[in-house]
Symmetry: C2
Subunit: 243 residues, 2 copies
């Protein structure tokens, strides 16, 4: 084999196992809290320590498939947004066993997800060792995963400001107040005036009045809107701010 120098037995070229780590966010509109999904490690190293849901990539499986698999192992959810975050080479810390003792390095490709909270059902398997944590109250994570989490949090806030990922996890119809709550929960309470938020969003033209109303006790019932992806399409890639 002419190219053996590039193959496994070449001492110069590193061999890797590639892991996927998910930073999964969710917004609870009811309590107006932002959560991130953590799971407790079942094996050494860092057994019993909270960490990001992750896995090693299997044969025949793409990175995104691996991210999706680990997500579906932890929660049952249909509405979600998923994108790649960053790749970290982890010299110090391979969370998946003894491979490093065999000279195999570990690379963590992180993914960022946003899921619908009301619909997300935690899967109880593995002794319920998966739970939502308030983003403001994260414990110290195994294997320096805090760094990845913060990177994901920053991405979430940025994404929210210039792309329509909120509509991937909001219900099909929603009130402008719910949308406002959503943004406020992620970006902080004083990110914008409600009235200005309304006019800006409506002027963009991709929120359609469904004619339906939603009443919650006293007060004037709110119009229900839906996200019109066709009306949004031409705005794609355009710089746009929802702030």
């Amino acid at each position: 084999m002419a190219n053996d120098r590039h193959a496994l037995n070449n001492p110069a070229i590193a061999n890797f196992q590639v892991g996927v780590d998910n930073v999964i966010f969710s917004v609870d509109l009811h309590s107006q809290k932002l959560f991130v999904l953590l799971s407790k490690r079942l094996q050494q190293p860092f057994q019993g320590v909270w960490s990001l849901p992750g896995t090693l990539v299997r044969k025949g499986e793409s990175l995104e498939q691996a991210a999706d698999r680990i997500l579906k192992e932890k929660i049952k959810v249909n509405s979600l947004y998923l994108e790649q975050l960053y790749s970290f080479d982890e010299f110090a810390c391979n969370p998946w066993g003894s491979a490093s003792q065999l000279g195999i390095r570990y690379l963590s490709v992180s993914y960022f997800a946003l899921v619908r909270f009301e619909e997300a059902e935690l899967i109880a398997r593995e002794g319920g060792m998966t739970a939502w944590f308030l983003v403001k109250e994260i414990p110290t994570l195994a294997c320096d995963r805090d760094r990845i989490l913060h990177y994901g949090y920053r991405r979430l806030r940025n994404k929210l400001e210039y792309s329509p990922i909120a509509f991937d996890v909001l219900p099909a119809v929603f009130t402008l107040n719910e949308l406002y709550q959503f943004y406020g929960t992620v970006l902080g309470e004083n990110f914008a005036d409600y009235s200005n938020f309304r006019s800006r969003l409506l002027k963009l033209g991709f929120l359609k009045d469904t004619g339906l109303k939603s009443s919650r006790g006293a007060g004037r019932p709110a119009k229900l809107y839906r996200f019109d992806s066709e009306a949004f399409a031409p705005l794609k890639d355009k710089p746009m701010v929802f702030i």
Copy 2:
């Protein structure tokens, strides 16, 4: 070994070689052209076809170190900006020999670089098979690398609009016209009026007049400015537009 199931001989876990591919941009202020660095492949597959400068990651070497190594193999440059772009899992195409025949997958982590054109000196090694190409006139690249290049080009334009990477590759002192040319070359000629560009940049307050002047033949000599990173620091992370 208790964790053998996670080790190399586990049939379920994929083994990878990780490659780094660089999208290296440079702006020639003189000709007002945007270039990208390509190198001709010296080995099979795709021998003789233009591609992005890349390498396999070696043992003991971080991803960024690998990106930096391959960059320094091709050009000699001091002033540059480098950041990770994206990770692509390449099922179909491993450009580094026969590893895939051994069941080893290939993952490409791409990096994005911007270098100072005037200073960048192509290294003639390997029969001069490295050259600057006009971004507008890219040949078809080996192994679907065009996708990576376009992704990098998009990133370049975005970065330029909201972060000060231009100052990493401009000379220490420069005229506002040179800065304007730089932006115009990357973003397209009609990205903004010169006069408005001036006032916006100067109002931001991180360009300091050095008191020096630069004259190029006829015409009023231009003030030379420098980028004041201390004055910029408080603006970091703040949304900011240079457009």
